[in-house]
Structure formats: C-alpha cells, structure tokens
Amino acid sequence: MSRANGDATMPTFSKSAPHPKERRIILANAEDPDFDGTLEAYEGRGGYGELKKAFGMTPEDVCKEVLDSGVRGRGGAGFPAGMKWKFLDRRSGKPVYLICNADESEPGTFKDRQIIHKDPHQLIEGMMITAFAIQAKQAYIYIREEMPYGARILDEAIEAARAKGYVGDNILGSDYSCDLVVHRGAAAYICGEETGLIESLEGKRAYPRIKPPYFPAALGLYMCPTIVNNVETLCNVKHIVAMGGGEFAKIGTTGNTGTRIWCLSGHVQKPGYFELECGKATYGELINDLGGGLLPGRKLQAVIPGGSSAKVLRAGERFTGKLRSGEAFDWGIDDIPLDFDSPMAAGSMSGSGAVIVVDDSVNIVEVLANINAFYAHESCGQCTPCREGSLWMKKITGRMVSGGARREDAALLASIGDQIAGRTICAHGEACAWPTQSFVAKFRDEFEAAAERNPDEWKNREFRLV
C-alpha cells in the first residue's frame, strides 16, 4: 500500500489481517489497510488526543498512570517503565533527555519496523507524552542505519507534527517545549545496548558504559539524567493515558500487563508478527496456530524464545518449578505462556519477543555456529572475555562444522561461555555466552559427535548456515 503523500520512491509495506487470537492495540491502526500513516489519517482516528489529555494532567500524574499500568520494557530486559522513570535522578539540576531505542538489532526481531513504517505518529505521540511526563528538554529517536525509509518517514512525520504544535516549541500552546530529532546508527548491533547507544549519540564509538555508576537515569546522555525506552514501550504510553493505568493493568496477567508483539521466524509455515495479550496464549499456539505450524514432514528440534541471545529450548524438554504465585508448573515448550515471567521460569527469557523455530532439517551445531558468528562480529571489543571469548566460540563451532574439531571441543566451548557471562561491562557478555552455554548443555551429544563427523556428509544439507 502506498503512502498518501504520493512519494513514489517510498516502498510499499505489506499488512496482515488479524488472526482471531490476536488483540491489536499497538498494531490496530498500523495493520489496517485503510490507514496510511499520515498525520491526517492519524488525527482522523483520534490521534494526539492522548497528548492533549496528558497536557491536562500534571507530569507526576502521567508518571503515576504508567507506574500503575505495570508496563514492562519491550526492548529486552522487561524492566517496568514507570519504575525506570521514577529512578530519574534530578539532583544535579541538569536537563533530562528522552531517547527512543529504535535500533531493533536483536536477531529475530522485526516489530519496531512495522510501527515506524506504518504508524509513525503513534510513536511520536507516545514519545511526546513521555517527554512531558519526565519533563525532558530534548528527545531523540536512535534508528538503525538499515532502515533508511523508516528514518525518512519519521523525519516527515515529525515535521508534520511540529507544524501542528505537537512537537517543538510551546507544545499545544503550553509553556512546555521539547524538540524531537531522528539520529541514525551505522550498522553496529551494540548501539542497541542503551549505554552504547548513548555514547554513539554523543558522537563516539558505541562503547557501553559500566553500570553502576552510569545508569542512564542518573548519568546518561552528556552525563545528564536520561530515559531510554524501546519503540513498542513508548507506544504503550499513549494507550495507558487513554485507558488509565488501572484499566491497562487488566490486560494480560499480573506482572505481565498489556499486549506484546511477537516476531515469529525460522522454520514455520507462516512467519510474521502477532500482537497478543500477555500470558493469554502459549508458544505452542504461536508456532502451530498463528504461525501455521512446521513445514511438512519436519520435526521440531529447538525454539529460541526471545531473540538469538536467549537460551535455547530443546524439543521434548520439560520445564518444572514454581511460579512467583507459588503455583507449580510442568510445561513442554508448547505450554509456556507468552509473557515475560514464564520463559524466565523455563530458564530462558522472552527478551525482545523474537521466537525462532528450528526444525530437524539442520544440524544444531551449525545453528550455534551461525549465532556465534553474529556475536563475534558485534562485540565492541572493550572487555577481553567478550572480545576474545566470542571469537573463540565462533572459531570452535566453525571447525565443528568445517571439520577438524577436537574431541575436547564441546567441553572447551562450554567453559569459554562460562568464563564470559558476568565478567563484562555490558550484557553483550551474557548475550554471546547464553547461546553457547545452553546449546552445548542441551545438545551435548551433537556437539561431541562433531569431532567424529566427516564434514563431507554436511555438504548434502539443504541450506548452509555458515
């Protein structure tokens, strides 16, 4: 569908009809074929009404609604947004900054792209409400370089919103002013990590900062208090203001409120993004119903439940334990509820909401080799365990695939992973160690067998992964 502004160079973005199990709040307009994402279309559906509503409240009241909503960050860590805002340390008296993390770089994730391309004003409205709530002096959207049209769409949308007084000086005629600026990355994954992002926005290499003391809420952009939130998180703010924090908290389950956009990819019939009420559907429903199930004749081998850094779940594995509520659970992969807490209870995480399905047509060692090549490429190089360890893990899984692996390599691989996690400046250390640690632990036989395997037999595989 083309955009109404008639820009012939702008590509068309495909839309999907809602699955009956979906509950679309964030994607409601974005995926509507009759909605073209322009300011007129957005205003026609009540857009910027919540900004007006928020400006009739005090900033503290807006923060309170967001806190009451329980909304958790959609970027990866799942930290409650209202709580993060509360941690803003204003004692220095320095200006406060707001940054939208639109780096969308965790492998498997493609949800923010949909919002930016199809409903940019929802993000802008969510950001300006947030900026008002935290009394930010200036706001930035950090978008990855590989979304050039996304950056242009946002630029144009911001200009349109500025002309209407929704962005910039004296917003809605008030004495509150805050500008919004799009900043483009340059193809480095580590810019998704919030302190790396901040360094990058300051015009430097994206070397993450150590926390403490450099929590963005205290010492962020230009060493000023800064809030960094994901695109989807910021969009939620608009809906929290619309319905009130209490009502919002009724969507989903306790501690896992609202909807989430899940990105399904890999070996499924119908990959795509699906907005679901938190905790009301399972990984099994996502893969088999919404995703149309596995390809004909294939068997499930593994599921990566929350972006490629999440610990892998092996087909047939049972997950048992007690939930926070005290209730006991006994799940297979298919039974795990799609929310924040359940994948964590199963020993992994929901991360960025990216679910990657791996069937039995590929060798699991090669899957890890592909993942390890990613993290080795993306380490910023500051910390020895991450810089060297990620390369060694890539090298070892590489020789397991190409031939020449040693019998002790599986154990060596696991030990390298164990020596990275917890010993680095930023969570890229965990992100690169968790796949190796979990794959080797759960598929030990396959990794040990790699030493014996004749690499020629791998040549017959349908697709190479490295």
């Binding site: 590509p11 969308e104 770089s105 965790e106 492998p107 498997g108 994730t109 493609f110 923010d112 792209r113 200036q138 990855r144 370089e145 590989e146 979304m147 050039p148 049209y149 500008d179 600026v181 900043h183 483009r184 990355g185 340059a186 193809a187 480095a188 994954y189 990058s200 926005l201 300051e202 015009g203 430097k204 290499r205 994206a206 230009y222 990105c263 399904l264 990819s265 890999g266 070996h267 990959p271 795509g272 993004y273 990566i304 490629s308 990216a354 990657i356 791996v358 590929v362 899957v367 592909n370 993942i371 090549a373 990613f374 490429h377 993306e378 349908e462 697709f463 190479r464 992964l465 490295v466």
Partner: protein, 174 residues
Amino acid sequence: MPFEPSSELAAYAEKVVQRYPERRSAIMMILHALQREQGRISLEAQEWVADFLEIAPIKVREVVSFYPFYREHPVGKRHIRVCRTLSCALNGGYAVCDSFKQAFETGLDEISPDGRVTIEFAECLASCGTAPVALVDDDLHENLTPEKVRELCESIKAETPAAPRPEPAGETAE
C-alpha cells in the same frame, strides 16, 4: 588536496549540528551525508569533518573505523547487503548470497569486475519474518530465492551502466 564539501553538504552539516547541544553528536549524520555524496569517506574528508566539529581528526577516524557501515574505500555503483543471520540462513540466505555473487561474477567485499556492485554480508536486517532478505542500496528485497535474485540482478544490470574497474595499481583507497 584538502577536501571541499559541496554546498549541499556544507549546508546540511550546518543544519544538523543545531540539533544537538554538543557539536560532536552530529558526526554520524554528517558522515552519512558525506558517504552518500562521495561514495566513501576519505582521510581528507575526515579532516574536514574534524575541523567542522572542532575535534581531533583521530576522533573522526575512530568513528569511521568502528561502525561497519562507514567505509574509507569505494564500493561498486550499487551496494548489495545480504542478511547472513539465523532466520535468513535457515531459509536459504547463503544460497541467495551465492546467486548474487554468480550473477556479477564476483566475491564478497569487493567491487565486481563490471564495476556495478559490491556484495557484502550484513547481520540481521530486522525483517526475519520475510527471510531471506537483502538490501540493494536503500531498498529491502524480501522472501528471496535464487530465481528472484537472478531477476533482480538482471534489472540491476539494465539500470546500471557497467564501469569496469581499472587495472589494480596495487594501492589502497588512501
């Protein structure tokens, strides 16, 4: 020879620097505009950027050398980036990359003999639901198959005049 920015680039730099409380923050946006105009970021251009932002040239080079998208060397007329990461690989991303290479009789990370393209691997392009994907300059191509790649390469060839690279003189871009 010192670098002379075009009037557009100079005007853009003046405009974009206003968006940040500190001049240095504008570096990435300026480098994007510069690379788009020049095809690469030469050392002379880096000195101009440093001068403009009132920082040492090494601070510019640190940035240029850190981010994979910035380059000091030239590329072919069209820049093809094929996603290498898991969801694309599971759906044939490597075969797609091979098809691109065959169509232009070239390897990765070099200017093709006809000067038309440079093919590179990229990491997850945030479109895993339509894997495998590739970027040709700004345009994302989705659900690629070797057949689709062949068609795409034909249209690239039709749109882009060949410009065979000169005999390698053994010197680098610097």
